[in-house]
């Protein structure tokens, strides 16, 4: 059992995007089918008619599932406004997905994007409401703050991994919770809390730090999207064109080889986690500076840090792949809101679909078995091995 092909098989590290599209496409399709099935069997009113009038029940079920997916499509791609909503939802997803993907490339599993988003977001928030200046200074300053906040928070996990061997999966999970309670506490201190509030709600950021909307008016997509795309291009360049990226990838492929080649593996672990956390922190700042009411609240990362794992897998851990995955999940989120609004299907269905996508992508053998595709040789798709390094 070798580690090389197994790692590629699941994270897609080292594969070409075009060649590896088959499994993600089938995974998405399968997940949507299962999602439709879930909608069908949970409609209590229709379930009651199956006994008396199966024909009517069947047509109503098809109507209900069809209506839901039509709303999903309408809300994500059906109009200019829907497209803007998709891009708006995709912005933090791309950044967070990129964070996890960078970790994968270097053989590290960062489950802590959620906590890093919170810490990065808090720094951006602090700069946002204390610094009173023009947008050209305020926005970059807040974004840099978010980068640093996220990087430090993730750096703790990288440092523990490098110096004590504590597995990053455990430490990042634990740091997520620490970050959650830390932000709850911070938001209730007089420094952050909005006057006259008893709950963890912060002051809003100054107008200068709000990310401007690209198209203005009702179209919610902000210049945060450009920030995300710049991050993608930068990461693509860093990972495939620089010696830093080469070192990251070498540590991911074979830490022993990296060590014998004279690379400082210990510091690379810290650097990779910090890079990953910086991107997650940027995603967090988007949740503060990029959407109304431009203030911090409890758990403002809203699960995006966990979606990021699915995104990185779906994007085959490639920066460009993550953009496609982010757009897809953005569309699912925007469409899910429409589905909830007009068809009364809870948006949590999108979460189920995302979980199914993870399972189908992480188990290519499962997808191949379902669709009877003759696959290449099948390696075990293992990333992590045990808690001890």
């Amino acid at each position: 059992m070798t580690v090389g092909p197994t790692f590629r098989d699941i994270t897609g590290v080292g594969t070409r995007l075009g060649r590896s599209l088959l499994v993600p496409t089938l995974a998405l399709f399968s997940a949507l089918v299962v999602g439709g099935f879930i909608i069908a069997v949970t409609d209590v009113d229709i379930l009651r008619i199956w006994g008396s009038d199966p024909g009517e029940a069947l047509s109503q079920t098809l109507d209900s599932v069809g209506g839901a997916y039509r709303a999903l499509f309408q809300g994500s791609l059906g109009s200019r406004r829907a497209l803007s909503e998709t891009l708006f939802a995709a912005t933090p997803l791309i950044l967070a997905g990129l964070a996890v993907a960078v970790g994968f490339q270097a053989g590290l599993f960062n489950i802590g994007a959620e906590g890093q988003m919170l810490m990065g977001g808090m720094v951006a928030l602090y700069i946002g409401f204390t610094f009173d200046g023009p947008a050209v200074i305020a926005i970059p300053l807040a974004l840099i703050g978010a980068l640093v906040g996220g990087a430090i928070w993730a750096g703790i996990a990288g440092f523990l991994r490098a110096y004590t061997g504590a597995h990053e999966v455990i430490t990042t999970i634990m740091l997520n919770f620490v970050a959650l309670f830390l932000t709850d506490w911070l938001l209730k201190t007089s420094v952050f809390q909005q006057l006259g509030r008893a709950d963890p709600i912060s002051k809003p950021v100054n107008e200068g730090a709000e990310l401007p909307r690209i198209f203005g008016g009702d179209f919610r997509v902000t210049i945060g999207l450009f920030v995300a795309l710049v991050a993608v291009v930068f990461m693509h360049w860093l990972m495939s064109r620089t010696s830093v990226g080469f070192q990251y990838r070498t540590v991911g492929n074979n830490p022993d080889a990296a060590k014998y080649a004279g690379m400082n593996v210990v510091w690379i672990y810290v650097a990779v986690m910090a890079t990953s956390g910086a991107l997650a922190g940027l995603a967090g700042s988007n949740q503060i500076l990029g959407l109304e009411p431009y203030q911090g609240s409890s758990a403002f990362s809203s699960g995006i840090g966990f979606d990021a794992i699915a995104l990185a897998l779906l994007g085959r851990s490639q920066p460009v792949g993550v953009v496609y995955a982010g757009l897809l999940f953005g569309a699912l989120t925007a469409g899910g809101r429409e589905m909830q609004g007009s068809e009364r299907i809870p948006i949590d269905l999108v979460v189920v679909i995302q979980a199914l996508i993870i399972i189908f992508i992480a188990a290519p053998a499962l997808v191949r078995a379902i669709y009877r595709i003759k696959g290449e040789e099948e390696g075990s798709s293992q990333l992590t091995s045990g808690w001890s390094a």
């Binding site: 209590v44 919770f177 620490v178 809870p346 189920v352 993870i358 188990a363 992590t384």
Partner: protein
């Protein structure tokens, strides 16, 4: 200049044990400083604290311990200094962690004396809620232990708990609490089976499988809670399991309230802890399971069916988590709320590591974590300046300290997390 450089190079590096001993003694000294500066000096002279040790309906009422928190703090501080000195010069050998644990208990006691100065505080109420809160954590930790002892990391405990909580409520509302409980166990087992199939048959990465199971369970239960329970409130009102008082034992002061006036879920958890301890360390089944977790190839060579053992344990673990989920609904409020597990599954995972993959260790860790959760609820009543968020963080911080090896190294089963591929 040169002399310093020479001195630097000649200096022998301390072994990890020496470094740890030094670190621990520093910790003892720091704790002593905190105890004196905050807990002793923070109390006015002559002020008394009272810990209530009985509840109104107990056989022996009005038991209480009234003491001078200043005196207690000074005594604890002296003890800490002695321990620190002993640790530095002689060390405690194999009892290091035990001594550290007892020191922590003394520290917490002193802290509570400070918090309760001039007031009365129901210690027995606090300890009882510690036990109640520790039940789902224990069960989650046992689930993790069942998996990791056979080298399957189960990070989907949170999802299995949540699914059990949901199934218990909805089925319990329709068909009564016992059927509801059976459904919770079954759904936990089903998710255990899904995890087993993914990681054993399809050799999917164990962390990813677990994360996916948790996300799936969160999504599906929230979806159903809105779509089904939201419209049919009567499906969210199951019969609950009531308290079963153990005759005679329930009258023991303090302990009676903690352990013998509880419901089914605590009793079964305790039986499971004892049973699994015996099973893992004193039976053939346990030896086989552990060998699969330590060295699957050797186990296979000896004729043990590695895959079957893994399937069995992971499914059984899932069933335990399903039962733990039911404890949150059928054994508690009776109502299902979206994402009501709120990280308990991950605390269970932490309890497993803190408890060093042993059932009794898991129970002990769960009680410690239950204590911090209970304390966080009660501190508000006492009006201490410590924000509750810091107590909520405590289990996670403790786990990081443990995995980082600062307080003893936690060693998982050797093959933990690795798929087994038969040649």
């Amino acid at each position: 200049m040169t002399t310093t450089v020479v001195a630097e190079t000649v200096r022998v590096r301390a072994t990890p044990e020496e470094r740890r001993a030094r670190l621990l003694s520093v910790i003892y000294f720091l704790l002593a400083v905190v105890v004196v500066m905050v807990f002793a000096r923070g109390v006015e002279a002559g002020e008394q604290a009272t810990f209530g040790l009985s509840l109104p309906r107990d056989r022996f009422t009005d038991l209480a311990w009234t003491f001078d928190p200043r005196l207690l703090a000074y005594l604890v501080a002296i003890g800490m200094v002695v321990l620190g000195g002993w640790q530095l010069t002689r060390g405690f050998g194999s009892k290091t962690n035990l001594v550290l644990g007892l020191a922590m208990v003394a520290f917490v006691l002193s802290f509570m004396g400070w918090a309760a100065a001039g007031q009365s505080f129901s210690m027995v109420g606090m300890l009882t809620s510690m036990v109640v809160l520790s039940v789902p954590i224990t069960l989650g930790g046992l689930t993790g232990t069942m998996g990791e002892r056979v080298a399957v990391i189960n990070i989907g405990i949170e999802g299995q708990l949540l699914a059990g909580a949901f199934a218990g409520t909805i089925v319990g509302s329709i068909a009564g609490r016992w059927i509801g409980l059976a459904a919770a166990i079954a759904i936990g087992g089903l998710l255990g089976w899904v995890l087993a199939v993914l990681v054993i048959k399809y050799q999917v990465d164990q962390i990813i499988s677990g994360v996916a199971i948790t996300i799936f369970a969160i999504g599906l239960t929230s979806f159903l809670a809105t779509r089904v329970l939201g419209v049919n409130q009567d499906l969210n009102q199951p019969d609950r399991f009531t308290t079963i008082n153990v005759p005679l034992l329930q009258d023991i002061p303090v302990l009676g309230n903690m352990f013998f006036k509880q419901n089914l879920f605590l009793y079964v958890s305790l039986v499971l802890v004892v049973g699994l301890h015996f099973g893992f360390f004193h039976t053939r089944w346990g030896l086989r399971a552990r060998s699969v977790g330590e060295h699957p190839k050797a186990a296979d060579t000896l004729g043990i069916n590695v895959f079957r053992v893994r399937y069995q344990n992971v499914i059984l673990g899932g069933m335990i988590a399903g039962f733990g989920g039911a404890a949150l609904t059928l054994g508690s409020t009776g109502r299902f709320e979206e994402e009501m597990t709120a990280g308990i599954g991950y605390i269970g995972l932490a309890a497993m590591i803190f408890g060093r993959w042993k059932p009794f260790g898991v129970l002990g860790a769960a009680l410690v974590f239950g204590f911090s959760r209970g304390l966080q609820q009660k501190l508000g009543i006492l009006g201490t300046p410590i924000p509750s968020e810091f107590l909520q963080m405590a289990p996670y911080l403790v786990t990081m300290v443990v995995v980082a090896g600062l307080v003893g190294r936690a060693r998982p089963p050797a093959a933990d997390g690795q798929a087994y591929i038969k040649d």
